[in-house]
Symmetry: C2
């Protein structure tokens, strides 16, 4: 085991989150979020028990000032130089502590106002790790007889991968790689550079010469870069006698328009900033439809660009962490890089600290998604340690929600709540009592119940009951037996007859409707052209997922090709915040009343990653952390497809080929066409018809897989490829 | 009006409090508190409305990164150099902003992780001040049409006296003055310096020469300084070739023992660190008893040493801010320097931030004193602005208290509560249900009611009812009709027959007993030698105050002389944390199982300041902020006394002379002896006996004073000296 830097769990994220969110700029002005930003605990206490067979000298580094206690007794360099001293060695300068033979308790109190107090202890056997405990108030007081009393609440220390004394958390940054423009041309009074596709990073001025000021205008589009008055981001750099002053910060752009004063001269390049990932551990997809392949690739690139210190929404304008966006990124990520550390960081960052003074991002729905994202995380990872860490903050956030119910026991937007639901182009009620919000709260309460029961919390039943009660109430109020659909809103005591897709698709997704009702919803709402269409990839995520849950992959495939393919045909190199196929030309760039307000690289644009992984390749855990999982491939009109899905145990590979026309729906029945990998002799396909050849490979050491083909269930053994010929 | 630095109220105190509390050392090791330390809000928004008759260019400085909005529109140097730009002038470099004619809203968002985000704006008419508003979450979000919605809660900005752009809050420090030792002598292997009396500051090595290490051992006593193994504080300084490395930090000491290695050489001096005060605005006292004069002077010096950034407990060992200590400092301070800013700072610092995770300083009684101190502050200052600022934090702290009542609706120490009451030398219950704690909580609830009613809070009645209920319950349970006293504790369901002075004296102080019961308490408890004596100045404060409230100044005077005079006879130059007259020699230095653990300069030692000012000079407000006040002088055995009491309006001067023997009690009747100042012709003394001459001077511009002499009530006009001859 290596020693690693440790801190109070969540504090790294709070601190890094402020740096991250406040890096956003708007036309040269910094632009922090409008919700509460928190701070790390400035003073924390780390403690650890050891039992040594021989004396050990350990090296200690901290970020912050610290003191050290051995078995409750304080030592200092001045008073006890034989126990604690400062040393400059070849390895590193730092403190050394002599710990004697036997059972001892080591305690370090560290204070750091500027960044999270952090500790790195490295000895032969004594090494700081997440096994150490930490508290922000040890409550150790000494009575008049000198007797110590303590009642602090200790939790396991936070850590990540800072495994070297010099590799401190405050030095953490994304990685950089070099990138050159693919084209440059004279435009107006300056030069327009094209970096080929949407990129994220900071410009680099190479071979600088002369003196002058460089005015920089960024654009996700060519139009934006050339529009000095309206481009969303800009920069200014001074070059004097060949020296570059004030490097610009990281920005999102494909195009850069530059005007230079004086005789300043340079070659423009950039450093792309990116979060590293392992291709060997990543998901993949390829199929018979080239457009869908391109959609998958651009989705993957979009998610990679928006996966930074945290999962963010858009890389140009917003650059903040948003809960509604993040929950989708997490789900996509489970099918692309399975970066669970980034999921945890983002969940922690979004929650911040108590007291709760507003909904997450101030948005009511975003609070509810925050809960749901924890259930999802647990489903994909099986990580109870994280659930345990979060539990107190889950409780206090839910207390906040429950304290704001209206007299009917329903949640309702108060003056300081933002009700988001979706960006829509039609008139939609966002005030009053909304069916959509009740369903999301009911699901959040389900998550509370689901997590509580893991630790035998008696609270589990209470939350389950609250959820069931709310759901029953919601059904009684909003379900229209005439319309066979959920109505949208009560406003001023009146049930509004408006029907939108939003509550109805969540009733399917969250299994809050009977099978019959689901079919009614599908027919009367989801596939009803009279119901206003959704125009953001954000809600199209859920819409397509609901259809897939109803076995409508054959409906979803052409919709994906039309919608995401539509963006590609508009020249997208990453997917957008909003796409209304009815708009044209530069209309696609505008939003928020600003000509380039729309984000052209938005995480929620990448949802085909999830839809394809979970509902076409058909891979999902059925017990937490893929202990058990199913593979339920559906071609949905494709001739063939193959792909990989990352799991905690490794990858699940799926390859399906067959006659497209006969593979619609969830019944995989068709012509055999290909044999792939080793044959499997333990499982026999009993289908009466001659079938396609399906190849399922499982590389996990553990995990109990089931391949589901129509009504057949076939065991997937670990580390052994099975081939099913239907 | 001058511009001043502004910040989120309370954040300066939170930040400064961490610096302050963490400066404590124990034998060279840093020693932060064991309770939660909080942080300032890292990102805050300042806003202010102006209405300009002409365009104004204003200068802007911040501590932190900032952005600027005019009427909700963001400006940056890069995009709008005509509106906001950076300028280096003769005066100061900083940003300049052009604000056009008319009505405008200025908004600054400032981010600073390290210290409180702060703003200084200085224009012809636009100047940052406590009139500006601030929030830590503006909740301003922009919908898809670009329309802004905001729901942040704004409060008046915090400020103090940082009235120059360069005079930032982070540069704040105590003032320094030079001090030389009065004696030095060779001792053991080094040199012992005596600075004449207890002092606070840091050593200065003058005319340094040679090279070597200086080992420094501090002592409040000679014994402590010479005891290298047990002295509470020490330091180490390196001198190399006449250069001093690593100056020692501030320490408390009278003696310094120094051992030097090598040929290092220097003259030792110190810089005293002190909080400035205005002698013209300070209280004073002089009387016929030289010992009492000395007690008053040493009390004043003790309070001055313990008045630093905050009111602290002891200057050597503790150096933290403690609520139980502070409430006494506040009360003394109202009779010495009337430093209301330090009172507010200390109250804010003690409260810290939500969420409440422990009692103030983890001590239950200290939470209750915190509330009471706010009622006191209001009584002496009449400052409703501060009450309004604190109110939300008063509510959340009281919610915490009320959430921890036992099933009988009484407060009871839980595992993580420290029950302090007092340091006692006899066995005393500190667990279970304590009468003392109920009385303190009842008073805290009274304070809630008292403050709530100022703003017509309907909550006032609720708190009053809670207090009355608790009090009734407490009386029913703890008042013993047989003992005519409050019993101390219920433990494990059993009422314990122990009687202590603690609940009984608070029943008098807080007026929680009938006049008859008070007399019974006085006789059976306070003046009963069988009840264990109090051995800390801390609780002697309340004991003597209770006796004074019962008109027992003639009993109190010899007790003060015996107790505080006793410390002086032991050589005290400041008053101590604890004094047990039964102890001898170096026993007086020990505490907490450590030979020099006792603090010899402890704020709560200075209570004669308060007792003399309020109960001998007899000056106290009868309406908030001395709008109305009374002077009820009681010589209590003194032949004469004169003194000054500071008020918000100026000073009240009182001079009384008379025959000591006849002036006991609250009836001031005696021989005339002196005429002082102008005669007063508006008020005639109707006393039947020939009296002392009393001179009462009032310099306040406002305030309605009443001089009370026995059963006579005489109006004191403002700005006019009255002389009453009795």
């Amino acid at each position: 085991m290596k020693a690693t830097w440790i801190w109070y769990p969540g504090d790294f994220e709070v601190w890094l989150g402020n740096k991250f969110n406040n890096r956003r700029t708007e036309r040269g002005a910094m632009f922090p979020p409008f919700w509460k930003q928190d701070s790390h605990w400035p003073t924390v206490v780390f403690t650890h028990e050891v039992d040594l067979e021989q004396e050990e000298v350990v090296a200690v580094w901290t970020e912050g000032e610290f003191n050290f206690m051995l078995d409750g007794k304080l030592f200092s360099e001045m008073a006890s130089p034989e126990t604690i001293w400062y040393e400059e060695s070849d390895y590193h300068e730092g403190h050394r502590i002599r710990v004697p033979i036997g059972r001892h308790t080591l305690t370090f109190k560290v204070w750091n106002q500027t960044s999270p107090p952090a500790l790195f202890v490295d000895g032969k056997t004594i090494k700081s790790s997440s096994q150490w405990l930490v508290t922000y108030e040890d409550k150790i007081w000494i009575d008049e007889q000198g007797v110590a009393h303590g009642s602090g609440v200790y939790v396991p220390a936070g850590s990540w991968n800072f495994n070297d004394a010099g590799d401190t958390l405050t030095r953490y940054s994304l990685r950089w790689r070099d990138k050159l423009p693919v084209n440059q041309e004279k435009a107006e009074k300056g030069m327009l550079y094209d970096f080929g596709r949407e990129s994220f990073g900071h410009l680099d001025f190479r071979k600088p010469a002369g003196s002058g000021t460089v005015h920089i205008y960024y654009g996700e589009s060519r139009e934006e870069a050339l529009d000095k008055e309206h481009c969303e981001t800009l920069d200014r750099v001074h070059i004097s006698n060949g020296l570059v002053h004030r490097n610009p910060g990281s920005k999102a752009f494909r195009y850069v328009y530059v005007e230079t004063t004086g005789n300043a001269n340079f070659l423009l390049a950039m450093y792309e900033e990116y979060a590293p990932f392992s291709p060997e551990r990543s998901g993949s997809f390829r199929c018979s439809d080239d457009e869908l392949n391109k959609i998958w690739e651009v989705s993957a690139y979009t998610l990679e660009l928006t996966t930074q210190e945290f999962f963010m929404d858009g890389i140009k304008r917003d650059r903040w962490v948003w809960s509604g966006d993040a929950i989708q990124s997490y789900l996509m990520n489970y099918y692309l890089h399975f970066d669970t550390e980034c999921v945890k960081r983002t969940i922690r960052q979004l929650r911040g600290k108590d007291p709760v003074t507003a909904h997450v991002n101030t948005i009511m729905d975003y609070t509810f998604y925050w809960f749901k994202s924890i259930a999802d995380y647990y489903e994909y990872t099986g990580d109870t340690v994280f659930i345990r860490e979060l539990w107190p903050k889950m409780v206090s956030l839910m207390d906040y929600c429950l304290s704001r119910l209206n007299t009917d026991g329903m949640v309702e937007g108060q003056a300081d709540d933002w009700i988001f639901i979706d960006w829509v182009d039609f008139p939609m009620h966002k005030r009053g009592t909304l069916c959509f919000e009740q369903l999301l709260l009911a699901k959040a309460l389900d998550t509370m119940s689901y997590c509580a029961v893991r630790f035998s919390h008696t609270e589990s039943e209470r939350y389950a009951r609250l959820s069931a009660d709310l759901l029953a109430k919601t059904k009684a109020v909003f379900w229209s037996p005439e319309a066979h659909a959920y109505l949208h809103a009560i406003e001023d005591g009146q049930l509004n007859p408006q029907i939108t897709k939003f509550p109805n698709m969540f009733a399917i997704l969250y299994d809050f409707a009977s099978e019959q009702e689901k079919k009614q919803i599908q027919e009367n709402v989801l596939l009803n052209a009279d119901i206003p269409a959704i125009t953001t990839p954000y809600m199209r995520f859920y819409e397509l997922e609901a259809l897939c849950q109803m076995g409508q992959q054959a409906e979803v495939l052409p919709q994906m090709k039309a919608y995401w393919g539509g963006m590609l045909r508009e020249g997208a190199t990453t997917f957008w915040e909003k796409y209304n196929p009815a708009e044209h030309g530069t209309e696609h760039l505008a939003m928020y009343g600003r000509p380039y307000g729309k984000s052209l690289c938005h995480a929620w644009g990448a949802s085909p990653l999830y839809i394809i992984g979970r509902y076409f390749l058909g891979v999902k855990p059925t017990k937490p952390g893929y202990q058990e999982y199913e593979v339920r491939p559906v071609l949905g009109g494709l001739e063939w497809m193959e792909g990989e899905v990352p799991t905690p145990f490794g990858k699940i590979r799926v390859k399906v080929a067959g006659e497209a026309a006969e593979l619609y729906g969830s019944n995989v029945v068709g012509e055999a066409s290909e044999l792939y990998g080793n044959s499997n002799d333990t499982t026999v396909c009993n289908a009466s018809k001659r079938c396609n050849i399906l190849t399922v490979q499982v590389f996990s050491d553990g995990g109990k897989g089931t391949l589901i083909l129509g009504n057949q269930r076939i065991n997937i053994p670990a580390n052994k490829e099975i081939t099913i010929n239907l």
